[in-house]
């Protein structure tokens, strides 16, 4: 097996203490069947799918329940068989926060045979991409971007498909387990992707702290015997799993801001996505399951579970033995990039890769926050080459122009700056607020500019109307004056003439 040489590391980043062994010692549990599903119609990108089932209808696992509203969005499928209980608004975790979306609620039954599926046949390339969208396949690394869209970005030639198994978040182990248990399927999925994008090379990237996954993948490469797949083990460094960081580490090329990896000839796909694609190509199975790492101190049996999309988190926790003592926090996603939610009544979505529960008893007290001492520690660790210290200052001064110049919108919220800050300033939290405020500011200044224009126009119009009326009045007065003067004189002349004539 050939190895792909590592160029170097990427810029910035930090070493983090690993917590993967909390959840990675057990096989993926595949027998979780929730009693209820809350399947969201909203998509992370593009407009919501349109529910295509009726309340009370019996549906089979794998059936389409939401039709894509636009061309480039994905369909939604029933992840278990059952009856549609309701179609209603429900809170759903979406892109870093909880928002409400229309959801199809399914009361499941245990006839869990998937609706008879055959491996799909495709007439042409375009057909294949449409089919991928219809199978509901999106990126499973967390962003949930439609996979067909990403494979179809043809702005420049793709030389290399990067299969992302880095998994740098300290708590998450779902990709690790997937690679251990389904290495062949993952690689087969990658080969299919490679064919679609027309690349010559696939590089599987795995961090060095996952020796079992590395072994499984390298064995699978041997058995498949393909010369176009290479494996690279990279040093454990957070956030290697970021697309831009991966590309930089492998090729030494920095993806310019506002561009995508494809602009330097690479496409990154998550190993989970490759697996989902393989399931679709081999068995005709749409994306209805994903592997979720349930971990942390607050759950009895931390493990990886194959979860039907839409399963309520509360049932998933119960499946893992329930809460262990009082839980102080529920985090969706990793501890670095994830976000806290305040209820477990939310569904697992296609972007939920991990659920971390923290136990109240063992959570250390948060550190006291001190003012910035301008030590500069945060600068060399930022993988985007930003100046976190300056951004913080600009945010405190509400200097939005400055925030724009400092590249606030480029911040990937990786949290590296948080980790190293000796004053324990929650920088990312501030940056998220800053981004939000800045967007509001931009919006309201657009409104204000427009209002100013319209006010000016109205004042001008009124004053010119006023001037016109004034002028009209003046002219009238003048003409009246003129005409009456002449008439009066004429009349007087007439009268005197008459009087003279009489005499």
């Amino acid at each position: 097996m050939l190895k792909y040489p590592l160029f170097q590391s990427f810029y910035g980043g930090v070493h983090l203490e690993s917590h993967k062994n909390t959840s990675n010692h057990k096989q993926i549990a595949r027998d979780f069947l929730p009693s209820r599903l809350i399947i969201p119609m909203n998509q992370q990108f593009g407009s919501d799918a349109i529910p295509s089932v009726k309340v009370g209808q019996l549906i089979q696992k794998g059936e389409v329940i939401g039709k894509p509203a636009e061309k480039n969005t994905t369909a939604v499928h029933a992840s278990c068989s059952g009856r549609v209980g309701a179609i209603e608004k429900h809170p759903v975790p979406t892109a870093g926060k909880v928002s409400t979306s229309t959801c199809v609620i399914i009361e499941t039954n245990d006839e869990n045979n998937i609706a008879a599926q055959k491996p799909p046949l495709f007439k042409n390339h375009l057909d294949k991409l449409t089919a991928i969208n219809h199978a509901g396949i999106v990126g499973l690394g967390g962003a949930a971007f439609p996979t067909a869209e990403k494979l179809n970005r043809k702005s420049s030639h793709c030389e290399m498909l990067i299969l992302n198994g880095a998994e740098c978040e300290p708590y998450i182990s779902c990709d690790d387990l997937l690679m251990q248990e389904h290495a062949t399927e993952v690689l087969r999925g990658a080969l299919a992707m490679m064919e679609i994008v027309g690349a010559e090379l696939t590089v599987v990237v795995i961090e060095k702290d996952k020796p079992k996954a590395i072994e499984a993948i390298s064995n699978a490469i041997e058995t498949i015997g393909s010369k176009c797949i290479r494996l690279t083990d990279i040093p454990t460094m957070y956030p290697t799993g970021g697309e831009r960081q991966l590309v930089e580490a492998l090729t030494g090329k920095e993806v310019p801001s506002g561009k995508y990896p494809i602009d330097v000839g690479c496409i990154c796909q998550n190993v989970g996505t490759a697996y989902a694609l393989d399931c679709f190509f081999q068995l005709g199975e749409p994306l209805i399951n994903r592997i979720v790492t349930v971990t942390g101190q607050g759950v009895k049996n931390p493990q990886n579970v194959a979860v039907p999309i839409g399963a309520p988190i509360v049932e998933l926790i119960k499946f893992c033995g329930g809460y262990d003592g009082e839980v102080s926090q529920l985090i969706l996603g990793g501890n670095m990039m994830g976000y806290t939610v305040d209820t477990d009544q939310l569904p697992v979505t296609k972007s939920t890769n991990c659920i971390i529960t923290t136990k109240k008893a063992t959570t250390p007290k948060p550190f006291e926050i001190w003012p910035c001492i301008r030590c500069g520690e945060c600068i060399p660790v930022c993988p985007v080459r930003l100046l976190p210290q300056q951004i913080l200052k600009a945010y405190e001064n509400k200097n939005f122009e400055e925030l724009g110049k400092l590249g606030l919108s480029e911040c990937i919220e990786c949290g590296c700056c948080d980790v190293v800050c000796p004053s324990h300033i929650p920088l990312v939290e501030n940056f998220r607020k800053a981004k939000h405020l800045r967007m509001q500011e931009i919006k309201s200044s657009e409104l204000s500019n427009a209002a100013q224009k319209r006010y000016e126009l109205k004042t001008q119009r009124l004053s010119s109307q006023h001037a016109n009326t004034e002028k009209l009045h003046a002219d009238l007065k003048e003409s009246i004056k003129e005409s009456s003067k002449n008439d009066m004189i004429k009349a007087a002349v007439e009268r005197s003439k008459k009087r003279r004539d009489k005499k």
Binding site: K398, S444, L447, S448, N449, A450, A451, Q452, R454, Y455, E456, L457, K458, T459
Partner: protein
């Protein structure tokens, strides 16, 4: 001694000339100052400052030395920006019973509207469309939530709603 005096006097004269010339070229006209001040105001045109709009208020600050803390929608943040720009002292903004803000917009209840056209005339930013004897409506993207259309309405059919709802 004499040469030193001459040299320094020479430098002083040259610099003075430079200063005069540059002040001539770099001088800001009153209008430019008013423009800048206007851009620091919220430009909602609500007249809550006591002037008929943001521009008149900006002009009043420059020409009549009006206080800089009169704009309730702008709040203390705006006063701070103005104080910084003008080099004057900060004082908290004067209170107003209900402050206009961009998060709200006017909404005309269409079944009640009698088509009197009074709101349209009151709107400083032409955000209302309609004509005599027929129903009027608010163009939400143009409305600044200034509330000026509310008092003139004889049948009280205008209310404020949240902009994003």
């Amino acid at each position: 001694m004499a040469t030193a005096t001459v040299i320094f006097a020479g430098i002083a004269i040259v610099l003075a000339i430079l200063l005069i010339v540059s002040s001539h070229y770099l001088s800001t006209t009153e209008n430019e100052v008013i423009d800048k001040i206007e851009s620091l105001l919220p430009r909602i045109q609500c007249a809550q400052c006591g002037y008929p709009g943001c521009r008149p208020y900006a002009a009043a600050i420059v020409t009549d030395k009006a206080d800089i803390n009169l704009c309730p929608p702008g709040g203390n943040e705006t006063v701070r920006r103005l104080a910084k720009f003008l080099g004057s002292d900060f004082s908290p903004v004067t209170k107003y019973s209900t402050t206009a803000n961009l998060n709200e917009i006017a909404f005309i209840s269409e079944e009640l509207c009698i088509g009197c056209n009074l709101c349209l005339r009151a709107c400083p930013v032409d955000a209302i469309v309609g004509t005599h004897q027929s129903m009027h409506t608010v163009i939400s993207d143009h409305c600044t939530g200034c509330r000026l259309c509310i008092p003139p309405c004889p049948v009280d059919c205008i209310s404020l709603v949240s902009r994003n709802a």
